[in-house]
Subunit: 190 residues, 2 copies
DNA sequence: ATTTAAAAAACGAATGTGCGTTCGTATGCA
DNA sequence: TGCATACGAACGCACATTCGTTTTTTAAAT
């Protein structure tokens, strides 16, 4: 089953959003990228430019929330849970680079009520991530650092991967993950 | 010595660039922010919108390069040098929030030749930072991780601070720095 | 297979808007 | 008087989007 034109259009838009930023990417450029002469032709496949941004941001938010829900339901140690979350971030960042870039950097151009939706979901994710760190501190597995500082340091430190990673190198992802575990988990361990 | 109107204009522009992004911040909004009715009045104080972006990006690049040059000239251990660099990033991020945000996120809207200037300087900084990590690995002070992975993980992990930090809390910066040292340096130590 | 009707997709012109910037003029301070 | 600053109108441009029309594709009927 090959991709529909609609899928192609959405993917081209995501790529251009990643390369130039949401505002700098014009409908005319997106059209050219999928072989259309006129930007107006795009409107047979999408409702608006923002529709694409909304889809990317909300789909990725769901992905992260589903991921952390799965982690929460295991009976692993806090260390294992943290590793699973880092793995989640690295997986998503390497499997769907363009979407993650847009999700990370362009959400601020969402209009209401989508912006509020997005920020609520992200806050929820952060809170649940922080709870896992706090449980590790409480159990003595982790050092007694400020959980918020640990949370954002870890979350942010993974945000360079989608920028650095080039597709088609599955082995290097394993090496990458091993080193990131060393850097981020060993530092936190007691 | 109070601030000149030009300084006020540049600062207001930087703040708006931080809040909304460079492209979304309009000259008309900047004018309003400094009490001018007309955007055209701004042009008595600046040459163009991009002039402000160029100034912010290049000044900050210089700041980081001067900072790492000072660290290189000491005879400290790699561990001490790494701590000094993290301190440098945290200092700049807390002392000049708006500039660092723009420097981090908006440089891509520079036009040539400024974009090339900027990227060259940044690459130089990264290479020198990486050398320090490599020397720590060679001396056995650091674990034998991939230096590039360590570099970007550390560099990126500090990029949430300007977003989180609110001015007027000098004590918390000390605590912040202590916890960031634990997370990033301890993980790398052998 | 060929024809035919409907649906989907592409076109091209046009609309309205907001943008950065220029210019001539007016104001106010030294 | 002269200089820096502010004003307000105007310019040209690129943008997202709309609309009516034409072309292409699809699927059913002959």
């Amino acid at each position: 089953m090959s991709k529909t034109k609609k899928q192609l259009v959405f993917e081209a838009a995501a790529e251009l959003f990643m390369e130039k930023g949401y505002l700098a990417a014009s409908m005319r450029e997106i059209a050219k990228k999928v072989g259309l002469e006129q930007a107006s032709s795009l409107y047979n496949h999408l409702k608006s430019k923002e529709e694409v941004l909304i889809k990317i941001c909300l789909e990725n938010a769901e992905r992260f929330i589903n991921g952390i829900a799965a982690v929460e339901q295991t009976s692993s140690t806090p260390i294992e849970k943290l590793k699973a979350l880092i793995h989640l971030h690295i997986s998503i960042a390497t499997e769907d680079r363009t979407s993650v870039t847009v999700f990370n950097d362009e959400w601020r151009h969402l209009s209401e009520p989508h912006l509020n939706d997005f920020l609520t979901k992200r806050k929820d994710y952060e809170n649940r991530f922080k709870k896992i760190i706090e449980s590790g501190i409480a159990s003595g597995d982790f050092k007694a650092v400020d959980p918020t500082i640990a949370l954002y340091t870890i979350l942010t430190s993974i945000r360079w991967i989608h920028y650095w990673y080039k597709p088609g190198r599955s082995q290097s992802v394993v090496d990458l993950e091993r080193d990131v575990f060393v850097l981020l988990v060993e530092g936190l361990k007691n």
